[in-house]
Symmetry: C2
Subunit: 197 residues, 2 copies
C-alpha cells in the first residue's frame, strides 16, 4: 500500500481548521501538491508571517499589523463610544457597517459548557477601561444567543456602578429577508422592538 507521509501531515494541518473534515483536508492537500512552486512558497510564507507580524493590541485586543492599533491610535474616531465584541472578525463586520468608535474584544462569550468562564474573557480589563476612560456609551455587540445574552447581562451589571450608559444591538427582522423565513423568536423580538413610523 502506498504512503505519502508529507501529504498526510499537510492534510492533518488542514483538518485543524474550522469546518474542515478529513475528506476536505485531503482534497486541499492534493490541491497544494498541484500548485505552482511559487504559489506554494507564498502560501507557506504567509502562514509564518501572520504569526510573526500580527499581534493583539494590548488595549482593545484587536489584531494589528505594525506598531499602532488601527482603532485605538486612529485619529478622528469617536472616542466616547466603546463597542464590545466577541472577536476580531465581528469588529471588521461592524466597521464595514459604518461604526467609527473604539472597540473592546472580549475573546468570546461566557459558556461554562465550553469551559469559557468570565475569568477567561477580557471582562476585567473592560471594567478598568470604562472606569479610567471618558466613554459616554458602551455598546454590547454580542451574538443574539443564550450565551451572548447572558454575557451582555453579566457585563452590564458589572458596568452599572460606573454610571456609563450600556446598550446592546437591536433585535428584529434581518433586512432584505422575507417574514416567511423568520423564526418565531425573531418575530417576537421584532414585535418587542417595534417603532412608530
Amino acid at each position: 500500500m502506498r504512503e505519502l507521509p508529507s501529504l498526510e501531515k499537510l492534510a492533518l494541518s488542514f483538518s485543524k481548521l474550522p469546518g474542515i473534515g478529513s475528506k476536505s483536508a485531503e482534497r486541499m492537500a492534493y490541491a497544494v501538491l498541484r500548485m505552482e512552486k511559487e504559489d506554494r512558497d507564498a502560501f507557506a510564507s504567509s502562514i509564518k508571517e501572520v504569526g510573526e507580524r500580527i499581534a493583539k493590541c494590548p488595549v482593545c485586543g484587536l489584531y494589528r499589523e505594525g506598531d499602532s492599533c488601527p482603532s485605538c491610535d486612529e485619529e478622528g474616531r469617536e472616542r466616547s463610544l466603546l463597542c464590545v465584541v466577541e472577536g476580531d472578525r465581528d469588529a471588521t463586520t461592524i466597521e464595514k457597517a459604518g461604526y467609527r468608535g473604539l472597540y473592546h474584544v472580549l475573546g468570546g462569550v461566557i459558556s461554562p459548557s465550553k469551559g469559557l468562564l468570565p475569568e477567561g474573557l477580557s471582562i476585567q480589563s473592560l471594567l478598568e477601561r470604562v472606569k479610567a476612560g471618558s466613554f459616554q456609551e458602551v455598546i454590547l455587540a454580542l451574538s443574539p444567543t443564550i450565551e451572548g445574552e447572558t454575557t451582555s447581562l453579566y457585563v452590564s451589571k458589572l458596568l452599572s456602578p460606573t454610571g456609563v450608559k450600556v446598550t446592546r444591538l437591536g433585535y428584529g427582522l434581518p433586512m432584505g429577508g422575507s417574514l416567511d423565513y423568520a423564526d418565531g423568536l425573531t418575530i417576537e423580538k421584532a414585535f418587542e422592538g417595534r417603532k412608530k413610523i
Copy 2:
C-alpha cells in the same frame, strides 16, 4: 480603516484551494492566526515539504514519496492488470477497494470546454505502455459522466489494435442506497447490467 495585509495575503492563498470562497478563506486565515506557533510552523513546513518530497512516477503518473513507486515497484502486484484513472485520488479509492494491479494516471478526462484535449492527457504514454507491456486487461476506471464515457471510448479505440482486452467499471445502483434515490439514468444502466442470480 484597519488593515492586516499578511492576513489578507494568507486568505488569498486559501481562496485558491478548491471549494473555498472568500469568506471561508478569511475564516481559515484567522484560525491560522489563533494557532499555536508550533502548529503554524508545522503547517507552513508541510506545505513546502509536499512540493519538495512528492513527485510523479515517470511510468504510471502516481504521486510518490521517495525513490520507488508505491505501485510500479511494489512486489506481489498483479502485473497483468492495468487500471486507468483520472487522478491520484481515484487510485487511492480503488486501492482501498482491494485492487492490486498496476495503474496509469491520465491526468483528467477529455473535455474541450475545459481546454482538456487528448494531447493534454497521458494517453500516448498509455498506448506505449500497453504496446510494450504484457497486460492481459486494461480497466478504464473513469467517471461515469459524458466526458468520462467519451474518454473511455476514445482510449479503447486507440488500444484496440494492440489486442489487449479493454473493460470499463460496471454501472448500476450504488450499494447501500435506496432505489428511491437513484436517478433514471442509473436505473437504466442497472437494467442493462442486470445479472442472473
